[in-house]
Each structure stands twice: as structure tokens, then as C-alpha cells.
Subunit: 336 residues, 2 copies
DNA sequence: CCTCCAGTCTAGAACGTGCTAGTAGTACGA
DNA sequence: TCGTACTACTAGCACGTTCTAGACTGGAGG
């Protein structure tokens, strides 16, 4: 009934029940050689009967390696959630476990890292969070650090990111290819990689001889910013025919705000997003977007961490992943 | 440089540096009485210099109590993320830590629970996941279990949920109050609490003498379902004037699909959602919805768990929270 | 007969912390 | 002088596991 104060069963309990030593039970649970088939079965049987479960704390304490990787992320950020989701199978393949560290209003990077390292994580993956270089370097001094998303260099930590400059160029190229000239960019502000997307946009516009049409509306990575940008757009004269948004959330906010105002997309205005999020795929949104390679990101992030852990790499490394333009139904040639 | 194989510093290292015993360092770090102010400072100083950090694994192992609560949730579910976010400050107030267990395609409830219990979580909060009664009972036999969201009873576990029946009634009452009669419900299928919302809708319709107008479109809790429901709506004759959606995601999907089809909301059709999610608040969505009390949910969930842990409660308990109708701009009187 | 070996199994020391029971040292009052 | 009370500190076991070093079988080979 109240099994709460009844101590949880330990290896010793299982061992006693089977009539063998603790060490043997340990062997069996770790799947090592050295126990007869019959004993194995009896151990598992006894463990099941007692409700025994290995104690991670004790395992961590005793073992030199924890085989745990910490992942810091913002739970309410959909894109982070997708990366987290992708992390698990990759980590598992290499025999590692992922421990999540949530960043919330009451838990900043330092505090969350503290917790992860307390749990003996061997490396930390920082997902899509823009921080100061000093803070990254400080984190990196405590454990191997992989910064996922932002465009940050440093001699002490690794980075995995998309080629955002190229991604932005793909977006602009696509729009120009359709015949657009007045292409506006909604800016990601200080968001991770926003500077690169900005640069990519500007460069691509110049390349197409559209320098005079470069126009950026300040914003961030939220739906609100897209909705606000809609207002801003309508103050422009002449009206732009296409928008390249900082990310999908922003694009979706813009899309809905425009439709609500009676503007047709892509009829009146074309929209391109960035991320390739789930939202972009939804049938009623069906957003043309620059997809980031999430499985690739997860894989690269974990590989990068493991190279430091298992292969003695010490020099900093940067992985840059290619983006892919996904043309859906929010882009079309401009109304002539 | 390669501080990887250099063992991480322990209490003993700090103690040695200061020239005191391990026990004293332990005292200082736990903020207990019995060390002079001067010694305290020297200990912290030495710890900082060495980069010492208490080892959670060892603490857990040694202490009878871990003061950790496990929270199982689906990272890609926005509503879960909001609950998780709200959990932290509440737990902290009572001196507990939250450990996250992600449910993904490769990690089911059993596996994730296994992990949490391995980390010595004293109780498990299962956020918004519909499972079998048998599985819940089995989980509850391993640790105090609080099921957050679904309407599930059991003698062995606690439940914290919204009064979904009443919430649905609020939605219908509001629509009827505006003059609507042909009110359709998009169904949440097997989603958590969907049955209650269904029932609340049906009851309320009957109460208003609108039994003949009861109509449910099968769906789930996703944007896709809302978008699909839009098609379905248009096959109805006469067209309904209002829709009560299973949740906000579904409502948002519907809203966008309708607007894309050129239907005006609330001009042609009114929409009410359920959840009170962040999305519903966005300026371009501005969805009328039945808000669930997320801070209240978080607080109740943790209180409920702590009653079992700290106050010896053993009989099952159910907390039902009141919902609140938030009228925004997606509802209006029907076109006459 | 002894030796060797593979297959099973065990004793006991870690791992880093918390906690109980205790020890010095000092100050105080009688 | 002693006992008492208090502050500041320490010794050493316990937590549940992993791991090293070795012990004990029975059978094969000399």
C-alpha cells in the first residue's frame, strides 16, 4: 500500500533472493559475459518480482562515464522542440542518453547548465539560444559545448548551424525568378542567425541589381512580429509584391494578418518563410519556406559532441548545413 | 586545456585547499549552522577557484529524499510546454526540482518513466497524455502519480483537470447568447478530455432546446483537423453559423482555412476554441476561447504530488479547475 | 597424478556526498 | 576547581552501484 517509506529494492535484494552475489546481478543487468543463461533468467525473474530498477544516481556515481548529454532549450519554442525530438534517436544510436534542461523565465542558461552538469552530463548542447560570447566561453570551460543555431565562433566551443546566408539567397532567388522586384525582408532582430539572413537578403538583392528595393522591417521570430509587419507593409508606397520573413512563425503571423485584412496570398503578395517548421506544412498554411535540416542538425550536434568525448578532438569545429527551398503555395508571380 | 580526463573537483579537494574537513565543506554548501563566517567565505572562495560543483548523483545517492519531481510531456505540444513552464516556479517555491521526461516516437510512457524513476524522482506528473487505465495504475504502483489533463479516475493515482464539461457549456452558452442555433462541434477524438467537451456541448445544446442541431465533425487536437473540418462544414446544408472547436489548435486551423476560402470570421461563421493557448492571444488570431487555468493547473499538480510525499495522503484525489470564457474577436451574432 | 583452462561466480574497494556522534576549545557561573 | 553550554569543527559509516582481482568448479590434456 504505502510503499513509500519501504526502501526501494536494490541489487543486494535481488542478489539475496536469487542466492548469488551483488556483483553477478550487476553483470547480468549490464549484459556482460560471465553469467550462465539460467542465472540470468533467475535474476531477471527476481528483479521483476521485487520491482527492482537500477539506480541511475548510483550508476553515475560509480561509473567514470555517465554517457549523458545535456540539451538546453526553450520549451515554448516549436523549432527547438523539433530538434529535441530528433536528438533522441541519434543519441541512442551511440549509446548516449539525453537530459533536458529547460530555459524559462526563472531559469537562465547558467542555472540550467549548473543542473545539467550536476547530473554529470558529459557535454552540453545549447539549442537556438543567442547569448554573449563570454558566456559561451565560460560554459565551454566546464564541459564540451555545442552551440546549435546561432552563428557564433569561438576557440573553445563548436557550432552547428544552417547556412543562413545561402538560405536567404535561395528565398530571394526564388522570388526574383518569379518576377518580383519589390521584395521586403522582415528582420529577425537579435534572434539566432537573424544577422546572416539579413545579410543574405541584402547580398542577393544587390546581386540581382535590386539594391534600391532593399527594405527591412524590424521584427523578431514571433507571430506577433509578422502581424505587426503587416501594418507596416501597408504604409509603403508602392506596395511590395513579396516578403521574405525572418522565420516561419513570423511568416505565418504575416500570412494570417494579411488574409484577415483581405489581402490574397500569393495573389497580391508572396511570402517566403524560414525554418521548415511543422506549421509551414499545414494544409491551410502551406508556406513556401527555406527548410533547415533538422535531422541533420541533430546528427551533427551529437556527432560533434561525441568527437570531443570519444575521439579526443580539442580544436573548435563548425558544421554548416545546407538549407533547401521548399516551394509551396504562398509564392507566385506578381500581379502584373 | 583538456580538462576532460582531469577528474572533476570534489568536496575533498575544496576541503584540502581550505585546510578543513570534508564534512565542514558539506555543511557550508548546504547552508547549515556550524561554520564560522570566515570559514564559509574561504570555502566558497576555494570552490570557485577550483570550479567545484556539488555532484547531484552523489547527493541523490546519499539522501533519503531527492526532492525531484518528474514531468512527462510531449515536447511538440504547445499546451504542454506552457504547463511545463508554469511548473518550475511552483516546484521551486516548495524546494523541489523538476526533471523533464520527453515523450517522443522512440520513447513511450513506460520508457520515459523508467528514466525518471532511475533519477529518483519522488513523484511523476503525466501531462496531457491519454493512456489506458491499466498503464496508469501500473505507473502509480511505482511512484505517486498525478495525471494532468485527461479525465481519468483510479483509486491509485490523482488527477488534475479542467471542468471540460462546464467549459464546453460556457462556449455554447456564449454562442447561443449571441443568437446562434446551428452550432457545430469539431470533435477531439480520443484526445485528453475530448469526451467531456463533447458531452458538455451536447448537454448544453439540449438545454437550449437545440438538440436537433447537435452535429459533430470527427477530428482531433491538431491544426490539420481544423483545416479538414472546414471542407466538411461546407458540405452541410444549411450552413452552420458557429463552430465550437475541440481545442485552440483545431480552432486556429479552421480559422485559417476558412479565411483562405474567403469566409469571414466572425461575419459568416463564429469560432470558439478551447485552451487559452498563446496562439489564441496573437493579435491576428484573437480567438474567442475557453481558457484553462494553466498556473492553477501547475500549482494543483504539484500540491497534489506533495500531499502524497509530505503529508502522507494515500487516498486518490481529483482536482477540477474552473475554466473561463475569453471573448475575443472570432465570435459575433450570426448574419441575420 | 598434476596442470591448465574456460566458465561462473564472489569479496571488497571505490565513487562523492550526508549525517550521526563525537571532540576540542572557549566562556561562564558557582 | 569543576561542570555546563556553546561554537567550530572532524571521523567514519552509509547510500547502491561498478570494477578489479581473484576463487572455485569440472573437464581436457599431459
Amino acid at each position: 500500500m504505502d510503499d513509500r517509506d519501504a526502501r526501494r529494492p536494490t541489487m543486494a535484494d535481488v542478489a539475496e533472493r536469487v542466492g548469488v552475489s551483488r556483483a553477478l546481478v550487476s553483470l547480468v543487468f549490464r549484459g556482460k559475459e560471465g553469467a550462465s543463461q539460467q542465472t540470468r533468467e533467475r535474476v531477471f525473474e527476481a528483479a521483476r518480482e521485487l520491482g527492482y530498477r537500477p539506480d541511475t544516481a548510483a550508476q553515475l556515481l560509480r561509473s567514470r562515464r555517465s554517457r549523458h548529454l545535456g540539451a538546453l532549450y526553450v520549451p515554448t519554442e516549436p523549432f527547438h522542440a523539433d530538434v529535441i525530438d530528433a536528438l533522441y534517436p541519434v543519441a541512442e544510436k551511440s549509446g548516449y542518453d539525453v537530459v533536458l534542461g529547460a530555459l524559462t523565465q526563472t531559469r537562465d542558461v547558467t542555472k540550467a547548465t549548473e543542473e545539467l552538469l550536476g547530473f554529470r552530463c558529459e557535454a552540453v548542447l545549447l539549442i537556438g539560444v543567442e547569448t554573449t560570447h563570454a558566456q559561451l566561453t565560460s560554459l565551454a570551460s566546464q564541459a564540451p559545448l555545442v552551440v546549435v543555431g546561432p552563428h557564433q565562433h569561438g576557440p573553445r566551443f563548436d557550432t552547428v548551424r544552417s547556412d543562413d546566408v545561402r538560405g536567404a539567397r535561395q528565398a530571394v532567388d526564388h522570388l526574383v525568378g518569379l518576377g518580383h522586384r519589390r521584395i521586403v525582408h522582415i528582420d529577425g532582430g537579435h534572434g539566432p542567425a537573424a544577422a546572416d539572413r539579413r545579410r543574405g537578403y541584402r547580398n542577393a538583392m544587390r546581386k540581382h541589381g535590386l539594391a534600391e528595393h532593399v527594405h527591412m522591417i524590424p521584427g523578431d521570430y514571433t507571430e506577433e512580429c509578422g502581424a505587426l509587419a503587416a501594418q507596416e507593409l501597408f504604409r509603403m508606397d508602392p506596395l511590395p509584391t513579396a516578403v521574405f520573413a525572418a522565420n516561419d512563425r513570423c511568416a505565418v503571423g504575416l500570412l494570417h494578418a494579411l488574409r484577415r485584412m483581405g489581402v490574397t496570398v500569393p495573389g497580391d503578395i508572396s511570402i517566403v518563410g524560414f525554418d521548415g517548421s511543422r506549421a509551414a506544412q499545414l494544409p491551410h498554411i502551406d508556406l513556401t519556406t527555406v527548410r533547415q535540416d533538422i535531422p541533420g542538425t541533430a546528427e551533427a550536434a551529437i556527432d560533434t559532441a561525441l568527437e570531443r568525448l570519444d575521439e579526443e578532438r580539442t580544436e573548435a569545429k563548425q558544421v554548416v548545413l545546407r538549407t533547401q527551398l521548399i516551394v509551396r503555395s504562398t509564392t507566385a508571380p506578381p500581379a502584373s
